[in-house]
């Protein structure tokens, strides 16, 4: 029998294994003298934690702070407005990934733009832009690129093809960001309560686990790079608790079936060829130096942000002053503590970043309740 898709997740959702880890974590946690606050940086982990009710399995001295690792949630409104404006240009097809089309900017979401007649499409892979461009030779296809290290190589691969095949009608609007800088920014805040990190693993499939080395070594924060199934997350929590019990502080990889120390070197070379580090303004966290990527100057002719510079809004737009997403991301507050959570701010009408995608902390709390 060949390998089936279910072989990839069945064992990692096994009830007995999950219960066994819950017991182990409880036994170890008794030995701790203080509460441990773990940040899961990645929205995928937030989703797993909420969907599978992981918090209900943890003792009261193991707590979670839900991090900023959702590419849709961290997109500041002015950049969403870029996409909105671009989609309204004549002869433009605006292409992006999944959830991005739902997020409202200051004049509406891409979904709204589409309902008003703009040609907005979502794709699974940036390379799908090649087909769209070929089928629409008289139009300009603008790929609104989003995501962390995980999705960047695919954007690079798209540009690589565009350059090599000299395709005239594909442009890029790049909004890629990287993980270590916001982690650094968060723990530099004195009020930040984070003691350890659950490390994003699909990011590390590309960039390797090496990118987290500085956190245990220089900042005294253990990191365990974790898979996304409930057994993965439970095992990773157990590994973190063990480090505290044994008074250790190191980088460990739980998701060994996909993550290596060096990562995917070929992808890293491809990224380095087309992109360079740049400042990025994060929704909820503000400006973080060198936390984003932009196209290198030599590829200006493919850069929609440069080509359409004259019509793109520049003014930063902050979230509503009642929104406390920034504090939630730092672990200073939890979603239900926000005065507009579930009332003015809902997944159908998100006001702050964390309510935007199902991977945001507020949306996950809203959807799965965690009230039981």
């Amino acid at each position: 029998m060949g390998l089936e898709l279910k072989n990839l997740y069945d064992d990692f959702r096994d009830a007995n294994t999950i219960k066994a880890y819950a017991k182990l974590i409880k036994e170890d946690a008794i030995k701790l003298s203080k509460t441990i606050n773990i940040m899961e940086v990645c929205g995928g982990h937030t989703h797993t934690i909420m969907k599978y009710g992981i918090l209900q399995l943890l003792p009261s001295n193991i707590k979670f702070v839900h991090g900023p690792g959702c590419p849709v949630c961290i997109m500041p409104k002015e950049r969403i407005d870029h996409a909105y404006v671009l989609s309204g240009q004549e002869n433009v097809i605006l292409v992006t990934l999944g959830d991005m089309i739902k997020v409202p900017g200051s004049s509406g979401s891409l979904q709204d733009a589409r309902s008003k007649g703009a040609d907005v499409r979502f794709v699974y892979s940036p390379l799908d832009c090649l087909k769209i461009a070929k089928e629409n030779p008289t139009k300009t296809v603008i790929f609104f690129a989003i995501g962390f290290e995980t999705t960047t190589p695919m954007t690079a691969a798209l540009l690589d093809t565009v350059v090599k095949q000299n395709i005239p009608n594909i442009l890029l609007h790049v909004n890629h960001v990287t993980v270590p800088e916001p982690m650094r920014a968060l723990i530099s805040d004195e009020a930040c309560i984070i003691d350890a990190f659950l490390g994003p693993s699909h990011v590390s499939v590309i960039s390797g686990s090496k990118i987290y080395e500085e956190f245990p070594r220089e900042r005294g924060k253990p990191v365990v790079v974790s898979g996304f199934e409930p057994v993965d997350v439970m095992q990773s929590i157990s590994m973190i608790v063990k480090q505290f019990v044994e008074n250790k502080c190191k980088l460990e990889v739980q998701y060994k079936r996909a993550v290596s120390y060096e990562g995917n070197m070929k992808a890293q070379v491809m990224i380095g060829k087309y992109f360079q580090k740049a400042d990025f303004r994060w929704r909820g966290l503000g400006d973080i130096p060198m936390s984003g990527l932009r196209l290198k100057d030599e590829y200006d002719r493919y850069n929609a942000e440069k080509i359409y510079d004259a019509i793109l809004p520049k003014q930063p737009i902050d979230d509503h002053k009642l929104c406390i997403c920034g504090d939630i991301l730092k672990g200073k507050a939890t979603p239900p503590e926000c005065s507009i959570f579930g009332t003015a701010c809902k997944p159908t009408n998100p006001i702050g970043s964390c309510m935007v995608s199902s991977e945001g902390a507020c949306a996950a709390y809203y959807k799965y309740g965690n009230l039981i």
């Binding site: 999944g98 959830d99 739902k102 709204d112 989003i146 699909h202 159908t348 799965y368």
Partner: protein, 332 residues
């Protein structure tokens, strides 16, 4: 609500409910409509009456086509009220340039499905519109059925009932999504599109005490359970591992980040049955080939009124919400 209509407002979930309540219920308000049943019960409880419009891309897909869908959809709404589908109308809006051969195929499959239900089309209408005005073909069917068992209603579920499913969920939604997005898979995945009257008749013939039935179309099983919890002011507690989901549907959900409970079905229904009859109902259903995985999935309690609780095999629980937004794949 938004100023212009968005696709999310046709999702069978939260935004859809808002649109219906704030625009249509507001204008058409009356006692029958406000019962929010699958079909209206009229004429002193003797007749069930329902309508549905169909637009699907692609028109032909694994397991069915828009024609079969158009007959099943309306007939199933009638069957869910314990009615035998009798008379249907059929209105089609066709785009200029549509192939006659495809139209014949669609109508042929409608004919076949009408026979399964023992119903006939007694009135119809056709409109042809310029290219681009509709996407190939839209079909509306309206149906009248004779109620064979009175009193079936989504407003009367109590703690004496248990919740059942007639089969595994999500096949239609997964099939359409895979076909639309050109995801090629080597699998037996096909739509569950099917007439439900034969299953309902078997249950009635066996004297099963049915409180409520609802076919889990757009919005999926999650939407039905939430509608029931609200309409009957109850809490429904469901055991996740008892909800049957095929490996194929699970696979699509894994790849794209969907929940099977939010995917559309066209031949899958949820039942609220009196406890003492539940085991017998499962037995009756299992005699149908497509219902091999029929079973009890949950109970009715008063723990969190108007809410649905999903319980995991490892002792945790969470709310199962009405699906919201447009069905979109996750990013990473």
């Amino acid at each position: 609500m938004t100023k212009t209509i968005t696709l999310a407002q046709g999702n069978g979930g939260e935004e859809n409910n808002e649109l219906i309540t704030k625009i249509f219920y507001k204008a058409f308000k009356n006692e029958i409509l406000e019962k929010s049943e699958d079909a209206a019960v009229i004429h002193g409880g003797e007749l069930a009456f329902s309508t549905d419009s169909f637009t699907v891309s692609p028109l032909f897909f694994a397991g069915a086509d828009i024609g079969k869908l158009a007959v099943c959809g309306t007939c199933n709404d009638l069957a869910m009220m314990g009615a035998k589908p009798k008379y249907l109308t059929c209105s089609v809006i066709i785009e200029e340039g549509f192939e006659v051969e495809s139209l014949e195929r669609i109508v042929e499959s409608m004919k076949k499905e009408l026979e399964v239900n023992g119903a006939i089309v007694v009135s119809g209408d056709t409109k042809v519109v310029p290219r681009g005005s509709v996407d190939k073909i839209f079909i509306n069917t309206t149906g009248i059925g004779e109620i064979e068992k009175k009193g079936i209603s989504s407003n009367n579920i109590t703690e004496d009932d248990v919740i059942l499913l007639n089969r595994d969920i999500g096949c239609h939604g997964a099939t359409i999504f895979a076909a639309r997005e050109g995801i090629e898979m080597s699998s037996a995945l096909m739509s569950d599109c099917n007439s439900l009257y034969p299953q309902v008749k078997a249950l009635l013939d066996a004297g099963i005490n049915i409180t409520a039935m609802r076919d889990a179309t757009r919005g999926g099983v999650a939407a039905v359970l939430n509608e029931w919890a609200k309409q009957s002011n109850i809490c429904i507690e469901v055991e996740e591992e008892k909800i049957p989901v095929s490996d194929e549907v699970k696979g699509i959900c894994e790849m794209l980040g969907f929940e099977a409970t939010a995917l559309a079905n066209e031949g899958t229904f949820v039942l609220a049955i009196k406890k003492e009859d539940a085991a017998r109902a499962v037995e009756v259903l299992k005699k149908f080939d497509v219902c091999a995985s029929a079973g009890i999935i949950g109970s009715v309690t008063c723990k969190h009124l108007k809410k649905v609780i999903l319980k995991s095999a490892w002792g945790t629980s969470r709310f199962l919400e009405t699906p919201s937004g447009e069905l979109l794949p996750r990013i990473c």
